[in-house]
Amino acid sequence: MRVKSKILSTTLIISCVLVSRHRTLMNIFDKAPVVDKDAFVAPGASVIGDVLVGRGSSIWYGCVLRGDVNSISVGSGTNIQDNSLVHVAKSNLSGKVLPTIIGDNVTIGHSAVVHGCTVEDEAFVGMGATLLDGVVVEKHAMVAAGALVKQNTRIPTGEVWGGNPARFLRKLTDEEIAFIAQSATNYSNLAQVHAAENAKPFDEIEFEKVLRKKFANKDEEYDSMLGVVRELPPELILPSNVLPDEHKAK
């Protein structure tokens, strides 16, 4: 918290503590989130209540996974991208309420809203999509960006649905289906980089700042002219599996 506090006197006791009270994993009622140790959960995200997150999954910045009235389970290798909301319903108009189940290797795009749905393995929910209660996105299906999928819609395998309200657009080609799985893997790798960076303690952050300054103006041509070899320290090198193949559009 950055606040220009006018009073810094020691008579102000801890009732005015200004540290961030945000808890990434928060229990509510008697439910606690169970998050695999290999999953990346951004510090600013909120994983609350009855949420299960499988291995290799990633929950990106600003997400909210609220398992307060029902359960959410996220499979392995899934990525829930920035600013998304995954919530469950306790009751809805049709009467039956399902927990939110998100399968393995699913990509849920930025700012998506997933409310009481079942998303099966290797599906793709485009960014900004809103999936209302009871929606089932089958395996290898794609929800286009910005779509609004009405309640209890079932999106069959291999199809792209989009628009508001969501209707069938076209079928997915095999290449695109393979791409979905590939993108989930890419995101998993990217998540590891972010996880490592977010978990760094204070010393490492400061040390890397210094390193970056030192190597900021590194110019290989000039160095070779001088006959000097300056290698980037390992802290500054990103792992090579993070960036996907050249010809694949992410």
């Binding site: 950055r2 994993l25 600013n83 990217l190 970056r212």
Partner: protein
């Protein structure tokens, strides 16, 4: 006085290491909870609460996000990877600018309003560079999603709009709220587009075109008042010191 305080705090932090603090506040019996279904193995060390909160600037490897000195970036924002926020720009609360696969630039006097997500794909379907570049005097309305798009100077992007890979919004155009621009779509100069998918509505009059940079400047003015509310560095370490003293945790 502040610098000596900072030095002392830094020394105390190095000796304590954040872990001891986390263990005191963070661990609960949750980790003992079952790893039964789908063999999830939660880690006992998983941090439940970190007083540092979410860092604003997340460098990845050599890429360090750069913020100009008079740009206002809210404390809630996450800038990761190759992000450059130029002079007079403002990035409002809750926005996420993820330049991890490609560059993101926010131009002079532009503003990225609340809860936007700007991301850049690795490559884009059109020939355009896959970086997300927002030129000068652009207003990006709240809750928008921009992915690998190029926004030329002096535009307004309405709230909750979605711009997909490779789209190009040319100068002096306005996108209405809630519009979804499909991949590779070009919005020509001086036009108003709306809808999902975005369709042409009408051309803008000259007066409306003149208003566009005025909006950006107005938001820039607003951001100055927010800017003056914050110190350049976080003072949370003082609070942490207070907490440590109060609770008797040894450094």
């Amino acid at each position: 006085m502040a610098t000596t305080l900072a030095r002392i705090a830094r020394k105390s932090l190095t000796t304590s290491t954040a872990f001891s603090l986390k263990r005191h506040f963070g661990t609960e019996a949750v980790a003992a909870a079952i790893a039964s279904t789908k063999s999830i193995t939660p880690s006992a060390d998983r941090v439940k609460w970190d007083y540092r909160g979410q860092r604003k600037i997340i460098p990845l490897g050599q890429w360090l996000p750069k913020i100009a000195v008079d740009a206002y970036v809210a404390p809630n924002v996450v800038l990761a990877g190759q992000v450059t926020v130029y002079d007079g720009a403002s990035v409002w609360n809750g926005a996420v600018l993820r330049g991890d696969l490609n560059k993101i630039t926010v131009g002079f006097c532009s503003n990225v309003q609340e809860r936007c997500v700007l991301h850049a794909a690795w490559n884009s379907p059109t020939g355009l560079p896959a970086e997300t570049s927002i030129e000068r005097y652009v207003t990006i309305g709240a809750y928008s999603l921009l992915r690998s798009c190029t926004i030329e100077p002096e535009c307004i992007i309405g709230q909750h709009s979605i711009l997909m890979e490779g789209s190009l919004v040319e100068t002096h155009s306005i996108l209405e709220a809630g519009s979804v621009v499909p991949p590779g779509r070009r919005i020509p100069t001086g036009e108003l587009w709306a809808g999902n998918p975005a369709k042409f509505v009408r051309t803008l009059t000259h007066e409306e075109t003149l208003e566009i940079p005025k909006l950006a400047v107005a938001i820039n003015d607003l951001s100055k008042t927010y800017f003056t509310e914050f110190l350049p560095y976080s003072t949370v370490y003082l609070e942490v010191e207070k907490l440590k003293n109060k609770l008797g945790i040894n450094v």
